[in-house]
């Protein structure tokens, strides 16, 4: 036959499969029947089969390319090891092979699994590891752990282990084939936990928990297998001071052959392997059993993304995974069927406690996971009995969810409302952590959160989507939800107070301040009706309302709301409580925003003292307070004081968050501001640059925080006369900020005005004028239109005067002297009216007036202003 081209080969291939399965004697008849349909095909096949005979006769490629020893190993079938005869291979692992064996000494009937160490590994580290498996198994005897029967070395030097033979299937396949519902899966999983807990109690960490190592026998018994890379916890190992009892430090064995899909972050990053490592793998296993998906989702497809997913990315909540829009819908439906339910119902069953339990087991930081397998089992048990679970990462979120279960479901709320609440609680969680992390600017957060919320809502339940139809917006959903909640919760003031507070926060995030205020005030009224004058929840609402009012620029009412929250929290919790510190910090910022640094400073210092005492020197919130105090000091002109706090803050951030965390970057940036304040531009430049590098790396080039750093760098460059660099930095800042924040954002105004001053320095007054007018337009917008105003410029009012002063200079440059004079005089009036004197700006304005009158040919006016400058 002619030579093969790929298409021809592919056409022949399936027929060859068939032919090669046939006894030689049947080939002729088979070829004849193929030939009856397709003569050419049959001819080619006949030629190939003739060649096949030739291949055999010639021994083509028999053996291997390399020397003896590589030839196929003689079959071990029938070999006798101790009291067992090998029957057939049942598995192959990195370490060796596993055989089904039968007892052959006639004393007992019975089958066993015999594990043989790969002969290639004899005499190497593998042998030591193999022996250790025997040692370990000998000490963990438990009905749910496949036990060790015998161990030895064959006459030929082959080490072997004889293990209990488990006739069963992988736990995930078992669950699916038996179509176990969620509760049945949990009960089975509890058996796994029991086995692992037993191993831990005997100081053994399994380290390779995965479906393939957890079998369910035909009679439904769970059996944990393969302690091949298990490790003994050394009794005299140093106890890890930060972890709770039961977890000890364990040195990681170099190059352990782990299974990446089930590996904990610390196994990949080389951290200590402890019982918490098994807790993580159990979390993955539970995730798989409940959702039918791996927590890393699509990241599983390539090794690099898998690692990133394990080490960095928090997995989607298991209840979201089962209705994920990113997964093939048939697959989701199929999995739900195997759990005897529908995707939507499954999601609702998993939502809440099970989400919390799985998430806690999957924490990246080992010390945040369940302290023990038993603790995890306790929570799962409680969840099965519908009792409140014990360990909770976030009590507020939990409370809201519990509330929803207690009330909303009781009132037979529609799916849409339930979905909405889940969305809100997620946001609520984000909000809380954000509150603790004010060092991180919040400009972009609203955008990110609305995105997350949209994702949650649209991804959560198709019914919800249908209900709202086209033109679905988060605001629309929120509005619908708010209306419905208010109606359904009528006559339940307690519930109303809680939910309205949550919704108020949400509206605040979207910049819908009036709506937020209305909800929070309503929540406050309901709360006062239920709780009377004093209650932690009431204090929370007051705190939120105060923060909101401050954001609107209503500082007086903000202050009184926060003062009330503060005194209430002090009465309820005592003077030293983390909630007290939150309100103190909030109030401190309100004073700071009004330029009242003297009043702000003691509040920030008190918050810092409380956090140091209650949360510890090394807490992240303590770092935030350090940064708050530093910012007050810096604005007061105490640069060395500010620097000392910032250095502490930097050290703490590096320690608790790492060198590459955005908060670390922000602290470096603030240190740069201190250096710039001292006119130490070289240091400032380097600090801003470091900060920006981290931000670009951790948040991406398009994050608004990068724009902040570019802006700061432009200051330094402008001061150094590097006009081109300053201008291009500010242009990049605007390119980042406008799409994300919108053209009316105060940050956009600031970058625009700064770019104008670069143009002025380059003597391009026309370009400067246009930019300054745009800047002033935005600065004049009310805070209602522009959220986050107060966070952008601390003492923002003077900046309007300063901008007018710049505009005057531009107009002078353009020869429009009348206009210039009017603008400059207005600027001077604005600056004079400031509560705190702005000397540099005043001086610059007067100097600009001198310039104007000189250019205008009015020497006496120029002289008069010159005299003011000198004084």
């Amino acid at each position: 036959m002619p030579s093969l081209n790929p298409d021809r080969w592919r056409a022949l291939s399936p027929y060859l499969d068939e032919a090669l399965e046939l006894p030689t004697a049947d080939r002729a008849a088979w070829l004849a029947s193929v030939g009856a349909r397709d003569a050419d095909l049959a001819a080619d096949l006949r030629a190939m089969l003739v060649e096949q005979d030739l291949v055999h006769e010639s021994g083509f490629m028999e053996g291997a390319a390399l020397a003896p020893g590589l030839a196929p190993m003689p079959s071990l079938e029938g070999q006798v090891l101790g009291a067992y005869r090998l029957v057939s291979p049942i598995g192959q692992g990195g370490m060796g092979s596993v055989w089904l064996a039968e007892r052959c000494d006639g004393r007992f009937e019975g089958r066993a699994a015999v594990k043989l160490l790969n002969t290639a590994l004899i005499g190497r580290a593998g042998e030591e590891r193999f022996t250790r498996e025997g040692t370990i198994l000998a000490r963990v005897r438990h009905p749910r752990i496949a036990h060790l029967i015998d161990a030895g070395v064959s006459p030929t030097g082959q080490p072997y282990l004889v293990l209990e033979y488990v006739d069963g299937q992988r736990i995930d396949q078992y669950c699916d084939e038996h179509a176990l519902g969620v509760d049945a899966r949990l009960r089975l999983f509890l058996d796994v936990l029991e086995a692992v807990a037993h191993a831990h109690a005997n100081l053994v960490v399994h380290r390779d928990i995965k479906p393939a190592n957890v079998l369910v026998s035909v009679d439904g018994q769970v059996k944990l297998l393969d302690f091949g890379i298990a490790k003994l916890i050394e009794r005299n190992a140093e106890w890890d001071a930060t972890s709770s009892a039961g977890q000890s430090a364990l040195t990681r064995e170099g190059g352990a052959a782990l299974t990446p899909e089930f590996a904990a972050p610390e196994q990949l990053s080389g951290g200590d392997v402890t019982t918490a490592t098994d807790v993580y793998a159990l979390g993955v296993l539970l995730y798989v059993l409940l959702s039918g998906q791996h927590p890393a989702g699509r990241a599983l497809h390539t090794p690099a993304t898998l690692i990133r997913a394990i080490v960095e990315t928090d997995p989607p909540r298991v209840s979201d995974a089962v209705v994920s829009q990113d997964e093939p819908q048939e697959a989701l439906a199929h999995h739900a069927t195997q759990c005897r339910t529908t995707p939507g119902r499954l999601s609702r069953a998993l939502r809440g406690d099970l989400d919390t339990i799985v998430a806690k087991a999957l924490k990246k930081d080992a010390s945040e996971r369940y302290a023990s397998v038993t603790a995890m089992a306790d929570d799962l048990g409680r969840s099965l009995r519908h009792e409140p679970i014990g360990a909770l990462p976030d009590t507020l979120r939990y409370r809201t969810v519990r509330f929803v279960q207690r009330h909303v479901r009781g009132v037979a709320a529609s799916v849409a409302v339930v979905v909405l609440i889940v969305g809100m609680t997620a946001i609520y969680t984000i909000r809380l952590s954000a509150e603790r992390d004010r060092a991180q600017k919040e400009a972009a957060k609203a955008a990110r959160i609305s995105e997350a919320l949209t994702g949650l809502l649209t991804g959560a339940d198709p019914i919800a989507n249908r209900a709202t139809g086209e033109g679905l917006t988060v605001r629309g959903l929120l509005d619908a939800g708010a209306a419905q909640m208010q109606k359904e919760l009528e006559g339940q003031p307690e519930a109303q107070a809680e939910i309205l507070t949550v919704m108020g926060r949400l509206y605040r995030r979207f910049g819908a301040f009036d709506k937020a205020q209305a909800l929070l005030e309503q929540a406050l009224a309901s709360g006062r009706a239920v709780y009377g004058t004093e209650h932690p929840r009431l204090a929370l609402t007051l705190n939120d309302l105060g923060a909101l009012l401050a954001e609107k620029g209503a500082y007086a009412t903000a202050g009184s709301s926060l003062e009330e929250a503060l005194s209430m929290r002090r009465r309820i919790h005592g003077p030293e409580h983390r909630d007290v510190a939150v309100t103190l910090a909030e109030l401190g910022r309100v004073y700071q925003d009004q330029g009242l640094n003297a009043r702000a400073e003691p509040l920030h210092r008190e918050a810092l003292a409380i956090r140091r005492k209650v949360l510890g020197e090394d807490d992240r919130e303590t770092a935030v307070s350090l940064s708050d105090v530093a910012s007050v000091l810096r604005l007061n002109g105490d640069l060395s004081g500010a620097e000392s706090f910032l250095r502490q803050c930097l050290e703490l951030n590096r320690k608790t968050r790492g060198d590459d965390h955005p908060n670390t970057a922000m602290t470096l940036h603030d240190l740069g501001l201190v250096a710039a304040g001292r006119a130490d531009f070289a240091s400032a430049e380097s600090l801003f640059q470091q900060a920006m590098d981290i931000q670009r790396k951790s948040l991406g080039d398009k994050h608004p925080v990068v724009a902040t750093s570019l802006n700061s760098l432009s200051h330094v460059w402008l001061a150094q006369g590097k006009h081109a660099a300053a201008a291009s930095a500010l242009r990049e800042a605007l390119d980042i900020a406008v799409p994300v924040l919108g053209g009316d954002h105060q940050l956009v105004a600031i970058y625009t005005i700064n770019l104008a001053s670069v143009y002025l320095a380059r003597r391009e007054p026309a370009a400067a004028e246009a930019l300054l007018r745009e800047g002033l337009r935005i600065r004049a917008l009310s805070p209602e239109v522009v959220p986050n105003r107060r966070r952008i410029l601390s003492e923002d009012d003077w900046s309007v005067g300063a901008t007018k002063s710049l505009l005057g200079a531009a107009l002078t440059g353009l020869g429009r002297y009348d206009e210039a004079e009017a603008v400059l005089l207005e600027a001077r009036r604005d600056l004079e009216a400031m509560p705190a004197p702005r000397k540099p700006e005043m001086k610059a304005t007067i100097a600009r007036l001198v310039q104007l009158y000189d250019a205008w040919g009015k020497p006496d006016k120029a002289a008069a202003h010159r005299a003011q400058l000198a004084s």
Partner: protein
């Protein structure tokens, strides 16, 4: 159950990644093989499987190269190993000095002695073609012929029956035989079919 856990061909799917990976693995296998030569004079016998297992252990500890599982690692590494062996043979032929691998002669009565470097190179070329047509078959040839894994071992790695592996091996080697037999007639495997 779910399909995500059984992500197929994770490593080989992405050419860019695979290239980097190929080079890294190649260097690692070469390093281990040289150490083996240092110890025993050449890599032979159990040497290759040892080298592969050790490469897995050493590479699974390296950041950025975690293989989805041991079996997939071996399949991929076997291809790299083939390249290493053939390169070694070529280098030896030109430099006329001892190489890393001891090649066995399978008996003079066999038409295709692998002791013949020419034949080995031809097999390598034909395997590259096979890898584009039926990658599964090429992988099995790499594992068996170049790395010395047994049918049982390969079957266990891939989770299929030994019989399937054996049949695929037969097909693979038939393809190679056919391709090489066509060569002396100066016809490439992809040559246009003659009438």
């Amino acid at each position: 159950m779910n399909t995500t856990l059984e992500a197929p061909g994770a490593v080989v799917d992405e050419p860019v990644v695979a290239d980097g990976l190929f080079n890294t693995l190649y260097a690692e296998l070469h390093r281990l093989a040289r150490r083996e030569v240092h110890r025993r004079g050449s890599v032979s016998g159990l040497g290759v499987t040892t080298v592969l297992h050790e490469a897995y252990l050493s590479m699974s500890g390296t950041e950025g190269t975690v293989f989805v599982d041991h079996a997939r690692f071996l399949a991929y590494a076997a291809r790299v190993m083939r390249g290493l062996i053939i390169d070694d043979v070529r280098r030896r032929r030109s430099a006329k000095r001892g190489g890393l691998f001891a090649l066995t002669a399978l008996g003079t009565d066999h038409a295709y002695s692998v002791a013949n470097p020419e034949a080995l190179t031809q097999i390598g070329d034909a395997l590259d073609e096979l890898a584009t047509v039926e990658p599964d078959l090429a992988e099995i040839v790499d594992l068996k012929f170049f790395c010395g894994f047994s049918f049982i071992e390969i079957a266990a790695m891939r989770g299929v029956s030994e019989r399937t592996i054996q049949r695929n091996w037969e097909k693979g080697r038939l393809y190679l035989h056919h391709a090489i037999a066509a060569q002396p007639a100066a016809m490439g495997i992809h040559a246009v079919t003659q009438p």
